[in-house]
Amino acid sequence: MRGSSARNAVCLAIAAMAILVVGPAKETAAAASRFEEIAPGVYARHGLVAEETPENQGAIANIGFVVGDEAVAMIDSGGSVADGEDALEAIRRVTDKPVAYLIDTHMHPDHLFGNQVFKSAGATIVGHRRLPAALAARAEFYKQSMAAQIGPELAGAVSVTPPDETVEDERRIDLGGRTLVVKAWGTAHTDNDLTVFDEETGTLFAGDLVFMDHCPVLDGSLKGWLAQIPDLMAIPAKRVVPGHGPVSAPWPAAIEPERRYLETLAADIRKAIAAGIPLADAVADAAAGESGKWQLFEDYNPRNATAAYAELEWE
């Protein structure tokens, strides 16, 4: 108790000194330094497991970049222009090679509201073949809903920026000395999920096809997601960067909790549908056994259950 408070005092003193030394102008540098090298030439930034707020600048998704001999590829651009700028700053602290590509793993604002930063920096934006349509249908709605979350100022700065090039099935991107394999998936978390696999280090950027800690979010197809998990697991990766949760985790073990959650949700909802329990009543009890195993469970599980019911009653 005493020891810990003494340690806290020391930490506070160090933090105060750091603030004095670094000064307020280095605020973005501090944010940028949150990127860590999880494998040679592979950097990732841990997103807070939280809802987007003005204070966290929408920096709630794990985003990262891979440095090749010739060029850099950014994977997801963050949840605001400020978040994207922090990421670009982080790249510039590591290398001055051109950021040739930005790969969007899917349509959600916490993953691509920083797109314009990388477009301005000259990157070619790559996304799923269905990303342009999905964004076109949602851009207006996202701008509104994000204004309520990250605030009108940060949301107002965003110009929703679609991909320049799309991936039908699979595409290999050569960064010089290392190749990224970009794969487009069938409808799962959303209808436009991409993964990025760095062959050199065996690192898989899974986007939101893999959630850890943060309750999974269903905005595509529960059946599609479950059906593709074996294919995801077959990717010969050593580690995964999940869309949310720890910045790096062993593969494929990292996907087990998510698979258990999705299977539980599907089983509970199917049982309710078979028993003739209406949607309103089924949602309350669905996946109740998973409560306590995930952060933000109450924020996302009821909505997932509603979506799952609407999908599975058509089986």
């Binding site: 207006e140 809903s145 003739g276 009653e313």
Partner: protein, 282 residues
């Protein structure tokens, strides 16, 4: 309709602004506190309710009887998904309800649907799913066979359900449009039957904007539905944009007609979807 909606919003907006500035002028203790202290319900209650203007538009000067069991409404206090908000209407079997108007006060097009129940259908309950665009009262008005009107309401917290993009997977939605499914359920009350009709349809709200053209994606929804049992009409619906994607209607009724269900639906583009459900379907 859209013009009306806009005018309504504007006048209410002005009223709110006036109220706010009056408060600002009066409250020495600090206006910001007065504004932030209001809960969403209080704000909604304080705002000149849309219902004040909707009621005469829809029912003229007819009396709406409150506080009876003729019609009851159930909806979640807080919606888990604003695009799929379940609403259940129940009717007093003694009252012979023949028509119900479902109104989502704050939606851009407030009348979600009008249901008409055939003579002898003996409808006991009807559930559907709606889009809710803002914190709102949902009113249900029942008309009995003798022409009297009865009203009930509930408050729902949800936002963005109309502008939210409908289909999670538009390719599947397009492929399966018009598919229908009927399920029948056992009930505890002996003469009462229960069934659910489901129709695959995007039911586009017309409030989603295409970012490239900056035009609204045209509304495309089921306008008319008629459900028969054993060749006799059971109920019909005139629907609007507030009915959720893949419309679902679960209903309990006392009519004892044997024979198959038949459903016929038509949408804003003139497409007609029709199906006779032979035998138990689920």
């Amino acid at each position: 309709m859209a013009e009306n909606g806009r005018n309504r919003t504007t006048s209410r907006g002005t009223a709110l602004a006036l109220t706010a500035s009056a408060m600002l002028a009066l409250a020495l203790a600090g206006p910001s506190r007065a504004e932030t202290a209001l809960s969403p319900e209080e704000k909604a209650a304080e705002a000149d309710s849309a219902w004040t203007e909707l009621k005469p538009d829809l029912f003229g000067d007819r009396q709406l009887v409150e506080g009876t069991d003729t019609i009851a409404i159930e909806a979640p206090k807080r919606a888990t998904d604003p695009a799929i908000v379940p609403v259940k209407l129940s009717f007093d079997p003694e009252m012979d309800v023949r028509k119900v108007t479902l109104v989502i006060d704050e939606n851009p097009s407030p009348v979600a649907a009008t249901f008409e129940f055939a003579q002898g259908a003996d409808m006991r309950s009807l559930s559907t799913r709606v889009r809710v665009n803002a914190y709102t009262d949902i009113h249900a008005v029942a008309e009995t066979a003798d022409g009297k009107l009865y009203v009930t309401k509930t408050f729902v917290k949800a936002a963005g359900g109309c502008a939210a993009p409908a289909a999670k997977d538009p390719e599947v939605a397009a492929r399966e449009m018009g598919k229908m499914k009927m399920r029948e359920f056992g009930t505890d009350e002996a003469p009462v039957h229960e069934a659910q009709l489901m129709i695959r349809h995007p039911n586009n709200s017309g409030l989603q904007k295409d970012q490239v053209t900056l035009l609204y994606i045209p509304a495309h929804f089921i306008t008319d539905l008629r459900v028969d049992k054993g060749g006799k009409p059971l109920f019909s619906m005139t629907g609007g944009i507030s009915i959720s994607e893949d419309p679902s209607f679960r209903f309990a009724y006392g009519a004892g007609d044997s024979g198959p269900f038949h459903a016929k639906a038509s949408d804003t583009e003139g497409a007609v979807f029709e199906k006779t459900f032979t035998g138990e379907q689920s």
